[in-house]
């Protein structure tokens, strides 16, 4: 694929991602909201694909759309006593607003401060899976292992929390 991204598909997918995200926020049915989130994740995978990040796109599909979103749906459906409970009013109160604004500010701050500047020139060929794997397991091996350790701790904690240990 050429280094310049085709603008029209990119714009369509970008708008789709944003539109689905907005629909997720505005839909009053929690199950519908979860499905909108999923649609947003799938169109993000499409964006990655357009940017020649094939591996990232597939992982996005496999992990976020295929597992995380499904898990969210699963939990939502499990915790609903009746189908009618799925419809909730949107909370416009002040604390909710404050929470939303502070989260948005945090996200903006992190994006602006942590993401490196966009490089002036792109490599002519997008790196493949092999290069990605080598890079991940040589240069970035320590952060990678650390992340997996944190996830493991979270997993063990979740198992303990959900009543695996008998509390006398």
């Amino acid at each position: 694929m050429s280094p310049t991204v085709a603008l029209i598909p990119f714009a369509i997918l970008g708008l789709l991602t944003l539109g689905c995200a907005a629909m997720m926020l505005f839909s009053r049915n929690v199950v519908h909201a979860a499905f909108w989130m999923l649609a947003s994740m799938v169109s993000t995978a499409g964006l990655y694909l357009l940017l020649s990040a094939e591996f990232l796109a597939l992982v996005q599909l496999l992990v976020y759309a295929g597992a995380v979103a499904v898990l969210v749906l699963f939990v939502v459906m499990l915790t609903l006593r009746r189908r009618a409970d799925a419809v909730r009013p949107i909370d416009f109160s002040l604390p909710a607003l404050a929470l939303a604004v502070s989260f948005a500010a945090l996200a903006c701050f992190m994006v602006l401060s942590l993401v490196p500047a966009y490089p002036d020139s792109l490599p002519s060929v997008a790196p493949g899976v092999t290069e990605l794997g080598l890079e991940l397991f040589s240069t970035w091996v320590l952060p990678f292992e650390l992340a997996s350790l944190i996830l493991l701790v979270a997993l063990v904690g979740a198992v303990w929390w959900s009543g695996g240990v008998k509390r006398s």
């Binding site: 094939e54 992982v59 496999l62 597992a67 499904v70 699963f74």
Partner: protein, 328 residues
């Protein structure tokens, strides 16, 4: 030729294969299960009941299509499409021969798994939107088991990837020209088959539509062609998983001891024949094993398959490194 035209033709070929596969597999399933149960299966329409499926398809197409009043309309109509589209797209990476594939992807194996991981979504959609307790239970069971077994499934394909060093399905086939991987990777094959049976909601793991408990699980409220789509994608997933088994462990479209030039002529036929043999094996299991319980299923997944997979991955990794060291 125009590349867009070629792409359209390829998608159409995939669709045709999917439909034909559905028709063939329905007949095969009824015949194989019939003979396993010491009965004849369909016999009346056509020679040994061969045209029975055509009659069934016509019936399915012309049936009344009622929509229950309480369903969540949008999701209810969307669900069959969400189940159908991934299982059509999953054909894209399967190599029928060296050149016959809808797309030759560098990450073909991952693509197939990634696309297939979207199927549970449609099933959940169908189960929830049907406004029926049995549908919801069936959908929940299907998704619970499919998410749980995606991990063992991916892990059991990994040792093969380790041996080949590529995710491209054609590279995996090419690496098996001397030795099919089911010999060195037999434990991986066993783990892969068990995990894929669960992914396919096949007996002994078909709790999601357990007829005796849940009517028809997530598809209870669907009729006519909407049911047809759900059904078709189930059969097509069977073909894809069997095709993957053949590609990963049984040399794909290649045959041993026959020169490559001669093989090239009938490679797709070899691939399809092997795939149907694997499907026959899956049906054999379906006809002979009793259904396991839901809790037994999760025990098997997390306490047996996952550790076994990790252990075998470790063994393969060490072996691959040792062979490399010796070769150097």
């Amino acid at each position: 030729m125009n590349p867009i035209l070629v792409a359209c033709l390829r998608v159409l070929a995939g669709l045709g294969l999917m439909l034909l596969n559905g028709v063939v597999l329905i007949y095969m399933l009824r015949k194989v299960l019939g003979h396993l149960h010491v009965r004849l299966g369909p016999m009346n329409v056509g020679w040994h009941g061969t045209v029975q499926t055509v009659a069934d398809v016509l019936k399915l197409l012309t049936k009344e299509d009622p929509t229950p009043r309480a369903v969540d309309k949008a999701l209810y109509f969307l669900a069959p499409a969400v189940v159908f589209i991934p299982s059509l797209a999953a054909y894209a990476a399967l190599p029928f021969s060296k050149t016959w594939a809808m797309a030759d992807l560098a990450t073909g194996l991952l693509f197939t798994f990634g696309i297939m991981s979207l199927v549970p979504l449609g099933i959940l959609m169908a189960g929830w939107s049907s406004a029926n307790k049995w549908s919801l239970l069936g959908g929940m069971r299907a998704v619970g088991q499919q998410i749980a077994y995606e991990v063992p499934l991916l892990l059991s394909a990994l040792p093969v990837v380790l041996m080949v060093g590529s995710l491209n399905l054609n590279d995996i086939v090419a690496a098996q020209d001397k030795l099919w991987f089911f010999i060195p990777q037999f434990p991986a094959l066993l783990l892969f088959v068990v995990a894929s049976l669960v992914e396919l909601n096949q007996t002994p793991f078909d709790m999601s539509e357990a007829e005796s408990e849940l009517v028809a699980g997530f598809s209870s409220e669907y009729a006519s062609m909407k049911f047809g789509l759900l059904f078709l994608s189930e059969f097509s997933n069977l073909f894809i998983m069997a095709g993957l088994t053949v590609t990963l462990f049984f040399g794909g479209w290649s045959l041993p001891f026959i020169p490559a030039q001669i093989q090239a002529g009938f490679a797709p036929i070899v691939f399809v024949a092997k795939t149907y043999l694997v499907i026959f094996f899956f049906m054999w299991i379906r006809g002979t094993f009793p259904r396991v319980r839901v809790d037994q299923l999760q025990q098997l997944g997390w306490k047996v398959l996952l550790p076994a997979n990790l252990a075998w991955l470790l063994v393969t990794g060490v072996a691959v490194k040792l062979v490399e060291a010796v070769a150097r």
